[in-house]
Amino acid sequence: MIETVLAITCIGFGCSFALAIAAKFFEVKENPKIGEVNNLLPGANCGACGYAGCMDYAKAVVNDDAELNLCAPGGSDVTASLCEYLGKTAEAAEKQVAIVLCMGTDDVAKRRFEYNGIADCRSAQLVGGGDKACTYGCLGYGTCASVCPTNAIEMINGVAKVHPELCIACGKCISVCPRNLIKLVPAKSTVHILCSSKDKGPIVRKVCTSGCIGCTMCVRLTKEEESISMDGFLAKIDYTKEVQNKAIVEKCPPKCIIDTSNN
C-alpha cells in the first residue's frame, strides 16, 4: 500500500518536473503586447481587416505593418483604444454597412424557368445563367445569408436584405454573391437606389416592375447636389455626397429609391 502511494507520488513529481522543464525549454518568445492588443479587438475573426483573424491583425499592428483603423466590427471605439494603447494617432474609418442593391422580389420580378438543383446562388448561376429573368437581379437562394457571421441577412420573398444594425461589414456576403449585387456603403447614408440592372428601360420593364428604367428623373432633381449620376441606363448614387432632395423617393416611377431615415 505504502509502496503504491510512494510510487505514484514520485511519478507525479517526475512528470510535472519534466513538463516544467519542457515549458521553459520550448517556450516561443512572443511579444506580450500582441496578446494585449488581441484582447482589445472584438474577437469576431471575420477577416474584414484583411488579416487571418484577430490575433493576426494584432501581430501586424504591434509590428507596425497595419493601419489602426482596419477593424470594421470594432469601429471607432476599437481604433481609439488601439491608439491609446500604442500611443499613436489614427483617424477612425467611417462605419460602413453592406446593402443589397436589388428589390426584385418574387411578386414584381419574373423567373424564366423552373430551376431544379442546389439551393445555392453560386451553383444556380451556373445553370442557364440563373433562373431570374433579370440577368442582374438577386437570385434569392440565400448564400449570402448563410455565410453572414452575425445573421444580419434575411431572405424576404426571394430577395436578400441586410439588417444594417447587425452588419459588421466583414465583406463575406460580397465575396459570395455571384452577381456582385452587394456593396459596402457608409452607415450614415440613408438614400439608396435598389437596382443594379444595366439594361434599357423597356427590357427592364419586361422582367421586373421595380427596376430602374433610366428615366434620369432622380439625376435631374438632384442636379445641384450632383449626388446621382447615370452609369449607362442605371442611376447610381455618389456616396461621398449627401442626397438632400428626398422628393426623388416619391417621384421615381418604378419606386426603386428608398430612404431609410424614415424607419
Binding site: E114, N116, G117, S123
Partner: protein, 331 residues
C-alpha cells in the same frame, strides 16, 4: 408554349438510371424474406412477434423523431424497416417485447437520427441496438434456451441449452461432435439454437445471391469476410484438430452469414471503394475469429463489424482508386 409554362432547367445529366434508395431497400427486404421464413419454421410465433414489434417500433420512432426535429419524413425509403428486421433477426426467440422496443429506440433514435439520419450514421443502427441490448440485458440476450432440445442425427438428446458456439466456448460439446457432418448439416439448414434470423445459413445465402444478382451489394465484403474466417479457421484446425472446430462449423454457426451478407455490407457504414471493402471484410474476419478463439465472448461478429465501422472513415481516406491519367504511385 404559353406564357406561364416553364421548362425545367437543371445541370446535366438530364436522364437517370431509375435507381432509388427505396428500390435498393426494397430489394434488401426481399432478400431477407427467406431468413424470415426459416425463423418462423424453427421458432414459430416468437419470430413473428419479434419481427413485427421491431419493424413497427423502428418505423414509429423514425417518424416521431423526424417530426420532433422538424426534418422531412424518410420512412418511405424503407431503411427503418430494414433496421427493424435486422434487429429482430439478432434476438433470441424468448426475448421480451418491451426490451425489443428499447433496442429499436437505441437503433433508430440514438444511432441514426441523432447523427442526422440515413447517410450520416457512423455505425450500423441495427448493430448498435443489438450491442446495446447485449450489454444491458445480457441474460435475456443469452437466450435462456431451456425449452429447445438439441437433437443430433442419431436422435439422441445430446445437450439441452446452449447454442453451438456457446458449446464450443464452454467446451460442453466435444469438438468431434460439433464438427461432425450431421451437425454441420443442422447448422447449414438452421436446426439449432440461436437468434431467430441468424440460424439458417441456407436462407441467408439465398438472400445474398439475390442481392448480388440485383447489384445491391458487390461480392467484395462478404467474400473477404467469409473467406478470412474460412482461412483462419482452417489454419487453426490444421494446427490442432482436437482443440478447434472445423472451418465449416465456424462458417455456418453464429451470426457470421447474417453479419457478412446483411450487416457488414450496409452501405453507409462500410467503405465506398472496392479496395477499402476488401480490407474491411478481412478486418471483420480476423476480429471475429480472434474473439471466437481467444475472447471471452462466444460470438465475435457484432463487435468485429462495429469496430470496423469505426475504421471506415480511415479506410475511405486511404483506399482510393487510382485516377485515369495519373502515373503509377500518385494518388
Amino acid at each position: 408554349m404559353s406564357e406561364e409554362q416553364f421548362y425545367s432547367v437543371s445541370s446535366s445529366p438530364h436522364v437517370h438510371s431509375g435507381a432509388s434508395i427505396h428500390g435498393i431497400m426494397r430489394d434488401v427486404v426481399i432478400a431477407m424474406i427467406p431468413a424470415f421464413i426459416a425463423a418462423v419454421i424453427f421458432f414459430g410465433l416468437d419470430a413473428v412477434r419479434l419481427t413485427v414489434v421491431c419493424v413497427a417500433s423502428c418505423v414509429i420512432f423514425e417518424y416521431l423523431s423526424r417530426r420532433i426535429m422538424k426534418r422531412n419524413q424518410t420512412i418511405s425509403d424503407l431503411s427503418a424497416v430494414i433496421t427493424g428486421m435486422l434487429l429482430a433477426y439478432n434476438l433470441p426467440p424468448s426475448f421480451p417485447t418491451w426490451m425489443a422496443i428499447v433496442g429499436s429506440f437505441v437503433a433508430i433514435v440514438i444511432a441514426k437520427q441523432l447523427f442526422g439520419g440515413l447517410g450520416y450514421n457512423p455505425f450500423n443502427p441495427a448493430l448498435a441496438g443489438r450491442l446495446f441490448l447485449f450489454l444491458s440485458f445480457a441474460f435475456a440476450m443469452s437466450g435462456n434456451w431451456t425449452d429447445w432440445n438439441y437433437i443430433n442425427a442419431d436422435n439422441i438428446a445430446a445437450i439441452t441449452g446452449a447454442t453451438p458456439l456457446g458449446m464450443l466456448q464452454e467446451s460442453t460439446g466435444s469438438i468431434s461432435f460439433l464438427s461432425s457432418n450431421s451437425n454441420i448439416l443442422n447448422l447449414f439448414l438452421g436446426r439449432v439454437n440461436g437468434c431467430i434470423g441468424e440460424v439458417s445459413s441456407l436462407a441467408l445465402i439465398l438472400g445474398g445471391i439475390y442481392l448480388l444478382w440485383r447489384k445491391v451489394i458487390t461480392w467484395h465484403i462478404p467474400v473477404a469476410y467469409i473467406g478470412t474466417v474460412a482461412v483462419f479457421a482452417t489454419i487453426l484446425y490444421v494446427i490442432d484438430p482436437t482443440g478447434n472446430a472445423s472451418p465449416l462449423f465456424h462458417l455456418f454457426s453464429g451470426g457470421l452469414m447474417l453479419g457478412a451478407i446483411f450487416m457488414a455490407t450496409d452501405m453507409v457504414t462500410s467503405p465506398t471503394d472496392k479496395s477499402g471493402m476488401l480490407v474491411f471484410g478481412i478486418g471483420c474476419g480476423l476480429l471475429t475469429m480472434i474473439i471466437r478463439k481467444w475472447g471471452s465472448y462466444p460470438e465475435g461478429v457484432s463487435f468485429s463489424i462495429f469496430i470496423m465501422n469505426a475504421a471506415t472513415p480511415l479506410l475511405n481516406r486511404v483506399c482510393k482508386p487510382k485516377m485515369f491519367g495519373l502515373k503509377k504511385g500518385k494518388a
